[in-house]
């Protein structure tokens, strides 16, 4: 297990270094920092002096090294627009995005799993057929169209839930702005998380169904039947556990899509999260913010992937043995 963790850690570091190099390159090349710092009247000499003192004439490696050292200490620069340290700006927006993603994931797990399982064990049932037809169509409707229509119908036509912003939030421990504890906050969360969930759900329903059907054909399920086990036990303990293994892997891969989709959802619903902030930063050419976003999201990303691998290792006994052996 330890070796397994260590190997994952090395891979994570490797990916983080690549991301940081990219974001450093953005910061170095986008716009001239001297332009931002000195007055228009400054002479070329003054500029050159400033350049030298800032170390901008050093070679790329040295500059990167300085950047990385500061980054490790939590200093990723100052936002041009907000005039505040970028990490502070980003961390203010993290709760909104995480809550959105969290609710969407919960929805996916609790809706897609039963739907997929039902479609697998009763393929001829009319409800299963409906599920499969809806998810086939759902697979073809891009998330932003889902979101637009959600806003149109639920918010404008029927006035069920609000369509933009986070609504009322409460502060937990002085750190976390949460919208999960007020009625208003929850109603604001409804449409964005629903759109996000609907966009990702068809993939999971179809996948769970396909995997489950394959597992149900296997010898060990037949053996379980021959032991006279009850039907629910066979479906939900023997079959589902095996079905979940590939689903977990795909779930990890879909984490990237989830991040991309949060950007889309947040843009449509004006959700004050990291994705919205990022798109704003892009339109304002706020380079420190862009590169910091990349590093933060990249870090979260590597973390989720490592976590998914860990969960996979815990659920799948064969993986555990492989790491014992090394």
């Amino acid at each position: 297990m330890l070796i397994f963790l260590l190997r994952r850690l090395i891979q994570a570091c490797f990916v983080m270094i690549i991301i940081s190099v990219i974001s450093f390159a953005i910061q170095g090349n986008l716009g001239d920092p001297i332009q931002q710092m000195v007055s228009v009247t400054a002479s070329q000499d003054e500029r050159n002096q400033l350049r030298e003192s800032l170390g901008l004439n050093d070679n790329f490696i040295n500059q990167y090294w300085r950047f990385a050292k500061k980054a490790v200490q939590g200093d990723l620069g100052t936002s041009f627009y907000y005039k505040k340290p970028v990490l502070e700006v980003i961390f203010q927006k993290v709760p909104a995005t995480l809550e959105l993603a969290f609710c969407a994931i919960l929805l996916i797990i609790f809706v897609a799993t039963p739907c997929g399982v039902l479609a697998a064990i009763k393929p001829k049932n009319p409800i299963s057929r409906l599920i499969m037809i809806v998810s086939s169509i759902g697979l073809s409707v891009p998330i932003f169209i889902v979101a637009i229509f959600m806003v149109y119908f639920f918010s404008i036509e029927w006035n069920v839930a609000p369509s933009f912003g986070r609504g009322e939030t409460t502060e937990i421990l002085g750190l976390w702005e949460s919208g999960l504890f007020t009625k208003d906050g929850l109603s604001h969360l409804l449409l964005p998380s629903l759109s996000l969930a609907i966009a990702l759900m068809p993939i999971f329903i179809r996948l769970i169904r396909a995997e489950m059907m394959e597992v149900l054909q296997s010898e060990y399920i037949r053996f379980a039947w021959s032991k006279g086990l009850s039907t629910p036990r066979i479906y939900f303990i023997h079959a589902l556990k095996n079905t979940m293994l590939p689903i977990i892997t795909v779930g990890g891969i879909q984490a990237g899509t989830l991040v991309a989709y949060t950007i889309l959802t947040e843009t449509i619903f004006q959700w004050p999260g990291m994705g919205f902030l990022f798109m704003d930063a892009v339109s304002r050419v706020d380079t420190p913010l862009i590169s910091a976003y990349l590093i933060v999201v990249g870090g979260m990303f590597v973390m989720t992937n490592t976590l998914v691998d860990l969960v996979y290792g815990l659920v799948n006994p064969t993986v555990r043995l492989a790491s014992h052996g090394i």
Binding site: L30, V141, I148, V151, Y152, A210, Q254, T257, I263
Partner: protein, 312 residues
């Protein structure tokens, strides 16, 4: 060891494709999907002939005509599907938008396929360290999702070169970005089939006969990996079109002066809530039907060619 003649020829013969084709004709939904796809291809190719207006004409954009409802509501028969906020004829704009979306989708997937097939063949055929390294790269690339990479890359590019320059190059850049990010899917599938085919006797036979490995790869192994590639190809075109639409929707894709379906939808969104639903709904429906047809086609191919496509 003696080889039968059967072992020396490719397992996929004309018979099999004939069989698949006759099965295809029997499935109404699949035929419908193919017809829809062909229809889209036709209107994209013929867009300049079909469009009632010349979109390059400066008079095309006339704010006097803005937000006219489709003809069956407004009874203004100059504009069959109405006009958008800038007074452009929606039908013409959609025809050109579809043309753009399809072009970007198909070109991007062609790049994906070429890159993926080459990498997959190399990894699968050579094996060992190279295989390991390439597949690790594919893993990392896959885990970042093409949408994410494309958004980041386009955002950087846009801020780097400024919006004006970006708009000129938008189409090429979109094709490149979408094309370069999703190769692992092809690479993995091709590699898996190569590994399976490598065990087959006809490949042994070819090697025993002293045929070079490059020739074995392209002449002997590649034809047998065609069916999984075809499946991915179809589905990936749908994905590429969605990706392009999403990027354009975010303002990172095609500019509004040269709109694809995605940018049309993005533009229409604001007017939808103000009552001019057609500006948003009609391009949306156009896009959804195209994607649906591609996905149905892909599903059908997957079920009937029955290749082992890598799920992740």
């Amino acid at each position: 060891m003696k080889y039968n003649k059967k072992d020396l020829t490719h397992p996929i013969s004309g018979d099999r494709w004939n069989h698949i084709w006759s099965g295809f004709i029997g499935d109404k939904l699949a035929v419908l999907a193919l017809l829809i796809f062909l229809f889209y291809c036709a209107i994209s190719l013929l867009a300049p002939l079909l469009a009632p207006f010349d979109i390059d004409d400066p008079a095309f954009m006339d704010l006097m005509n803005s937000e006219i409802a489709p003809s069956w509501i407004s009874h203004d028969y100059r504009f069959l599907l109405g006009t958008d906020a800038q007074g452009r004829d929606l039908l013409s704009v959609i025809l050109y938008g579809t043309r753009l979306s399809l072009t970007i989708g198909i070109c991007a997937v062609l790049i994906q396929a070429t890159l993926g097939i080459c990498i997959g063949l190399i990894a699968g055929y050579l094996g060992g360290r190279i295989d390991n390294f390439l597949m690790r790269c594919a893993d990392i690339q896959l885990s970042f999702s093409n949408m994410m990479v494309a958004i980041v890359f386009l955002a950087i590019f846009q801020s780097l070169f400024g919006i004006a320059m970006y708009q000129q190059l938008a189409m090429v850049i979109l094709i490149l970005v979408i094309g370069l990010t999703e190769w692992p899917l092809f690479a993995r599938t091709v590699r898996a089939s190569v590994l399976a085919e490598k065990q087959q006797e006809y490949v042994d036979a070819a090697r025993v006969m002293g045929i070079s490995s490059k020739r074995i790869m392209f002449r002997h192994i590649l034809p047998n990996t065609l069916s999984p590639i075809l499946v991915i190809f179809t589905v990936q075109i749908a994905n590429a079109i969605v990706a392009e639409a999403a990027l354009s929707f975010l303002g990172l894709g095609m500019p509004s002066t040269e709109p694809s379906l995605g940018s049309l939808i993005a533009e229409g969104m604001a007017y939808m809530f103000a009552g001019s639903w057609w500006i948003c709904v009609i391009p949306s429906v156009t896009l959804i039907i195209l994607i649906l047809a591609m996905n149905l086609l892909g599903d059908w191919l997957r079920d009937h060619l029955n290749p082992k496509v890598y799920k992740d």
